[in-house]
C-alpha cells in the first residue's frame, strides 16, 4: 500500500549514452502498453525506483500487519477474531507477493529476503507512515481496515496497469483481496457506528486520531513540501497514473460522504468540497511531522521495529537449521 517514496540522495541517471537505443526501445514498449519483465533491459533509474517502491510496499505490508495484529487475539467475538485474522494473514501474504517481486529485481545486485529484513532493521528500508502509529482501541482496528485500507486501495488500483509486469500481476491479486478487506473494515465500523454511546465515542476518537495520518497517506503534493518525492518518475515510467494530490482527492471524494453518512466528523472544520474548483479544500497536515515519522521517529516506530527484530533474530536458528536441508536436498 505504499505510495510515497523518499528520494534520498539517489542521482541515478536513466542510461549511459551507449544504451540510448535500448532506452528508446524500452520507452516505445511501455508507451505501447507492453509489460517489462525482471530480466528485460531497463533503465537504471527505473530499476532503482521499482526496487525502492516495491520493497517499501512489501515491507510496509509486513509492518502493517503489526498494528492490526495487536487486536487479533483481542477481537470481541469469534467471528471478529476470525475475520481480522484472515485479514492480517492477507497483509502478510501481500508482503510475501511484493517481496518476491522486489527480490527478483534485486537479484542482479546480489540481494535477497535476508538483505531486505536487515535493511529494514538497520533503518535503510522505510515503511509507510501509517504503520508507525498506535492503535489504542478496537475502533482503531476498524479504522485501519476501513480508511487506511481504503486509502491503500486507491493508491494500489492506480498502479494496476503498471508497466512492470511482475508488480502489476501481484497487484491484481492484492486488489482482489482488498475488496474483502474493505468490507471487513466497513463491517467493524458499521457495528460501532450503529452501536451504543461508548462504541460511537471510541469510533469518533479513532477517526480524530487517524485523520492526520490519512491525509499524509499519499505523501506531499509536491517535492517542495518535504524536499523529496519520486512521483514524477513513477508517472513518466507508467508505474502509476496519478500524482499524490490527485489520489488524495480521489480518496476524499470516495470516503468523505461515507464518513458523514455515518454521523462522524473529522477534526478539520474547514474541510469542504469546492464545486467551482472541483476539489476538496482541507487543512494541510504537519508535513514536518510526516518527515520525522517516516524516518522511524513516529510514536510506535521503535516498538514495531523491535517486534520485527525479535521475531527475526530469535527465530534465526530455524532458518539456519533448514538451510542445511536446502543444501542436502
Amino acid at each position: 500500500m505504499y505510495n510515497y517514496v523518499e528520494d534520498g540522495d539517489s542521482k541515478t541517471t536513466a542510461y549511459v549514452e551507449s544504451d540510448k537505443e535500448k532506452y528508446e526501445a524500452f520507452m516505445a514498449r511501455i508507451e505501447a502498453g507492453e509489460k517489462i519483465e525482471a530480466d528485460d533491459w531497463m533503465p537504471d533509474d527505473y530499476r532503482i525506483a521499482l526496487i525502492k517502491l516495491i520493497s517499501m510496499h512489501g515491507i510496509s505490508e509486513i509492518m502493517g500487519a503489526l498494528p492490526e495484529k495487536e487486536w487479533v487475539p483481542k477481537a470481541p467475538t469469534l467471528r471478529r477474531k476470525l475475520g481480522i485474522m484472515a485479514k492480517v494473514q492477507d497483509e502478510m501474504g501481500h508482503g510475501q507477493l511484493l517481496l518476491r517481486v522486489a527480490e527478483d529485481l534485486m537479484k542482479p545486485l546480489g540481494k535477497n529476503r535476508e538483505s531486505l529484513m536487515k535493511d529494514l532493521l538497520n533503518g535503510d528500508l522505510k515503511f509507510h507512515n501509517v504503520f508507525h502509529m498506535p492503535t489504542k482501541t478496537w475502533a482503531d482496528a476498524g479504522m485501519v481496515g476501513w480508511l487506511v485500507d481504503g486509502a491503500a486501495i486507491i493508491s494500489q488500483t492506480n498502479m494496476l496497469d503498471a508497466s512492470y509486469g511482475p508488480y502489476q500481476r501481484a497487484l491484481q491479486r492484492i486488489c482482489q483481496e482488498e475488496v474483502f478487506h474493505a468490507q471487513h473494515g466497513e463491517s467493524i465500523i458499521m457495528a460501532l457506528a450503529e452501536g451504543n454511546e461508548y462504541q460511537r465515542s471510541i469510533l469518533q476518537e479513532s477517526l480524530n486520531r487517524w485523520w492526520p495520518s490519512l491525509l499524509m497517506f499519499f505523501g506531499p503534493a509536491s517535492a517542495e513540501t518535504t524536499g523529496s518525492s519520486k512521483q514524477d518518475i513513477m508517472i513518466k515510467y507508467k508505474i502509476r497514473k496519478s500524482n499524490n494530490e490527485e489520489l488524495r482527492q480521489a480518496f476524499l471524494s470516495k470516503y468523505m460522504p461515507r464518513v458523514f453518512a455515518l454521523g462522524l466528523t473529522v477534526p478539520d472544520e474547514t474541510i469542504r468540497y469546492d464545486e467551482k474548483e472541483e476539489k476538496w479544500i482541507y487543512k494541510q497536515p504537519d508535513w514536518e511531522e510526516f518527515k520525522q515519522i517516516i524516518r522511524n521517529k513516529g510514536p510506535r516506530s521503535k516498538e514495531r521495529l523491535r517486534l520485527r527484530e525479535i521475531a527475526y533474530e530469535n527465530n534465526s536458528w530455524v532458518r539456519e537449521a533448514l538451510a542445511t536441508k536446502a543444501v542436502t536436498v
Partner: protein, 273 residues
C-alpha cells in the same frame, strides 16, 4: 437410551447423557479455542513469512472448529458461542493445561521471545491427538456431533501433515534444532497427559457411546503414532504436572490468555460488536 440421538431436544431427555455430552463438547471446544488463541498470538511473528501465512490458515480453521462445538452447546441451551468462548472463568474451562502454556517469554505485544520449537512440538502432539479423538467421535451417538467431527476431519489432514513435516525436518537438521525440539518433547511428556483424558464423566461418555474409545486406548494410539515420528522418545511415563484441565484445574497462563481474549468483549458485554 437408543444409540442415535438426532437432536438437542432428544439429548435433553436424559440428564446423564446431556451432562456427558456437554462435558465432551467443552473439552473439544476449549482445546481448539486455546490452541488457536496461542496460534493467533504468533501471527506476524513466525520465522518465515510464507510459514506465517500457512500457520494462520491452520489457526483460523482451528478456531472455526471451536465455534462449531460451542454452537452445538448453544443448541443444547448452554449459552451463545461467544459467551462460552469469552465469558467463562478458568475453573469452568476444560482444555488440557499444556495447550494453554504461553508461547515463550514476553507477550505478543512486547518482547515476544516466542519459541518455534514449542510451537512445532505442541501443535504436532496436539494434531495427532485431535485426529484420534475426532475419529473416536465420528460415529458418536449424538448425530450433530458426529456430523461436525466428520467435517473437521476433512480439513484436519493438512494440519497434521504441516506440523509433522516441521517435526521431521527440525529433528534431522542441526544439533541446535535437534536439541531444541528434544527439550520441548521432554517438557511435553511432563505436561501433556490430561489432554489425553476425558475427565470425570469419562465412563458416561463411553457407556452412552458418545465416544468410541476410552482414555487408555486414546493414550496408546497417541503414543504409537507420535513414537513413529519422535527421534528421542522419553523413557518416563506421561505426566500432568500442572493438574488436570479436564477437571477445571489450570495455570495462570490461562488467566493471561483469557484476559487478552476477552478484553474488548468484557469492555461492554451488552454491545453488539
Amino acid at each position: 437410551m437408543s444409540q442415535h440421538i438426532e437432536t438437542a431436544e432428544q439429548a435433553k431427555q436424559d440428564s446423564t447423557y446431556l451432562e456427558a455430552l456437554k462435558e465432551l463438547l467443552f473439552q473439544l471446544g476449549d482445546d481448539d479455542l486455546i490452541i488457536s488463541f496461542r496460534g493467533s498470538e504468533w501471527l506476524g511473528l513466525a520465522p518465515h513469512i510464507e510459514e506465517d501465512v500457512a500457520y494462520s490458515s491452520i489457526t483460523q480453521n482451528t478456531m472455526g472448529h471451536a465455534a462449531m462445538y460451542y454452537n452445538l452447546l448453544d443448541e443444547l441451551g448452554v449459552g451463545k458461542a461467544d459467551v462460552l468462548a469469552h465469558d467463562r472463568i478458568p475453573k469452568q474451562r476444560r482444555n488440557g493445561t499444556y495447550l494453554e502454556k504461553r508461547n515463550g517469554e514476553g507477550t505478543y505485544l512486547e518482547e515476544p521471545y516466542y519459541d518455534w520449537a514449542l510451537a512445532v512440538v505442541r501443535n504436532y502432539l496436539y494434531e495427532v491427538f485431535k485426529k484420534i479423538k475426532l475419529e473416536a467421535i465420528a460415529n458418536s451417538s449424538y448425530q450433530p456431533l458426529a456430523f461436525v467431527a466428520r467435517k473437521v476431519l476433512m480439513e484436519h489432514p493438512y494440519h497434521l501433515a504441516h506440523w509433522k513435516l516441521w517435526m521431521e525436518q527440525l529433528q534431522s537438521a542441526t544439533d541446535e534444532s535437534k536439541k531444541r525440539i528434544n527439550e520441548r518433547v521432554q517438557e511435553a511428556w511432563k505436561e501433556f497427559e490430561d489432554v489425553l483424558e476425558l475427565g470425570p464423566l469419562a465412563n458416561d461418555m463411553r457407556s452412552k457411546q458418545l465416544i468410541a474409545i476410552g482414555e487408555e486406548e486414546m493414550k496408546e494410539r497417541w503414543l504409537e503414532e507420535v513414537k513413529s515420528v519422535l527421534v528421542d522418545v522419553p523413557d518416563s511415563p506421561l505426566e500432568k504436572k500442572y493438574g488436570n484441565g479436564r477437571n477445571g484445574e489450570h495455570t495462570t497462563d490461562l488467566n493471561q490468555a483469557l484476559d487478552i481474549l476477552s478484553e474488548v468483549y468484557a469492555s461492554d458485554k451488552a454491545a453488539i460488536w
